[in-house]
Amino acid sequence: MKKEFLTGNEAIARGAYEYGVSFASAYPGTPSTEILENIAKYKEIHAEWAPNEKVALESAAGASLAGARCIVSMKHVGVNVAADPLFTLVYTGVNGGLVLVSADDPGMHSSQDEQDNRNYAPFARIPMFEPSDSQEAKDLIGIALEVSEKYDIPVLFRITTRIAHSRGIVRLGERVKREQLAYQKNPQKYAMIPGFAKRRRVNLEERLKALKDFSESFSYNKIEWGSIKEFGIITSGISYQYVKEVFGDDVSILKLTMTYPLPEKLISEFVNKFEKVYVVEELDPYLENHIKAMGYKNITGKEIIPGIGELSPEIIREAFGAGKAKVYYKPLENLPMRPPVLCAGCPHRGVFYVLRKMKAVVTSDIGCYSLGVLPPLEGIDSILCMGASIGMGHGFKKAYEQEGKESPLVISVIGDSTFLHSGITGLMNVVYNNSNTITMIVDNSITAMTGHQHHPGTGYNAKDEPAYAVSLEEICRALGIKNIYTVDSYDLSAVENAIKAAANNKTEPSVIIARRPCALLKGKGPKGLYKVNQEKCKKCKMCLKVGCPAVQIHGEEIIINPLSCVGCSVCAKVCPFDAIEKAGEER
């Protein structure tokens, strides 16, 4: 049998292939992105990037209605965006199997929050599976699709960063032969007017009851008996691996894989065997609260297991009284941090330099440009969620206006992919509610932060085939924006002049599109090289304020590292003494 060493994300993509998925949609978001990237490699599956997670889920709902097996993947906060269709999709149920993968990020490696999306399962009444490694991730995709079809319901497939980005050995199988299921018109099931929805609401409870029976006998919900008599452990997902790491086969474990609906009889059988049962789970006391609500008094969990951040074997060891991990070599104190930085040549750099210089209040958004909040640029005041920059800038201005006070210069900064994801409605609101905000779309022509995924503005689709590229200018015009300034992000004076012109307009909103492809995009980056003319350099360190990794101070001398410089010229433009000069056309 063929084996591969796969990440959880790759295993999910393989599962989608093997178990007959023919439609997949997603919006990129760490740690979920590689699921669709890998699915897109299979010609048997139609794979697409949607503009946002809501559209992804709605498209899958349509494909499912038509009888296709579907998979939709997104990061945890993406499920918030898709929550609207999700809650009602549970009422209608499915035709072809539909699995929604939620990739949560405990510890916030690359997210703005660490919400525990297991809470969505009882809230939306959607059955949920939690794999504990790559092999299970692949196998459970098949089971989730079968459950979805048999019980007429979408399935929530919840993973975390350590499942998504850890590799394990996975046994591969062949793709199952599967016919598209027949579509039959049935508005009582699929058209949720109140009269029909009321009946589906009742029917949903019947489906959940049947799912509960399934959960009771589901072989992946299992007890592993151990020799320790004093206590047992209930766990799920990656926490199972950590518990096994700490206790081996000594402790009795109830490993839950289907974590909604919960197998209450199985839980009873386990809990009744012990004086004390610990629930070991990352983030919220999801299992703990549900089991406590069943009436058991001998359950504990969050009393000893942290509810913030990722778990690890050592955290569990410490929680069970083994003390702190023994450390033999202590790191030196006060080591310099190595924070992520905007790359050399990044087109966002100069824009934030100008914004800081103009002392603008910047409501910003989610993407590479979020790094503009860090020193030395420090050009951002707020970051909330995808698309929030425009609404927040609008509200900020209105608050001053209402009091008859003059607002500070407020600028909403949003990326191209984020604007298409959920910025358009915010801008529509600006025009509709008669605001004179300034929106700056920093257009690097790709979804950069997650690793260069295409979006509806790039001219290519998820399979790298040519596609129609929407024009940001035309969208803004259609929304009613009359003042649109398109500037080159590297041209700092053009950026500054556009902001001044926009700020001088006291009645109408403006959009500045600062455009330059990501410097890492093949063939699209700048060409050339700059160097510091040491005779002209006065060591004023203005160039260091742009925070480019290529501009470096070595002792007293400021130099430009020729290996990192891509020739964007931003440092040369901020130098007050013209001491930074072009050193060549090619690197």
Binding site: K326, Y329, G547
Partner: protein, 191 residues
Amino acid sequence: MTVKNIFISGVGGQGTILAGKVITRALIEHGFDVKMSEIHGMAQRGGSVVTQIRYGEKVYSPVIEKGKADVLLAFEKLEALRYIDFLSNDGTLILNDLEIPPSTVLAGKEKYPENITEFVKNNIKNALIIDAVSKAKELGDVRVQNIILTGALAKVMSFDEEKFVKVIEEVVPEKYVEINVKAFKLGHKLV
């Protein structure tokens, strides 16, 4: 056998991912159960990068506990010190003799510690300091420093050299196979 742990630290863009791929595939060739954990995302923007590899008869956790790494393979000096608490008492530090100053140092806001080599020589029981950059340049491509270090690791852990060579032939693009095999053998001999 007990599960063994290899902790790799470095800076985004240094080739730690390829090194991890070669090592894990070779471990699978040895017949071990293997798990590996990498953290992507913001680390790609020149940040600190960590790859954790665990192997043995049966591996559960994909992450290594502090004080339990059999090898800390550090591609950069500061990143060695940042994770030195993962090294076990008898573990070996394989240190690339290379300084990549972080943005905070380049901007003149923080100082790069000067005494790392001294610290390592005086404090770490088993330490190997390898100038992989110079060796890679001698071979003709600075990028193969990752495979030189991989060669040293294979020797330290007494892995089968042939299995590594086979994996390099499989995972590296054809025109780079020769130099990478040379790099691996060079690293192997340095120990």
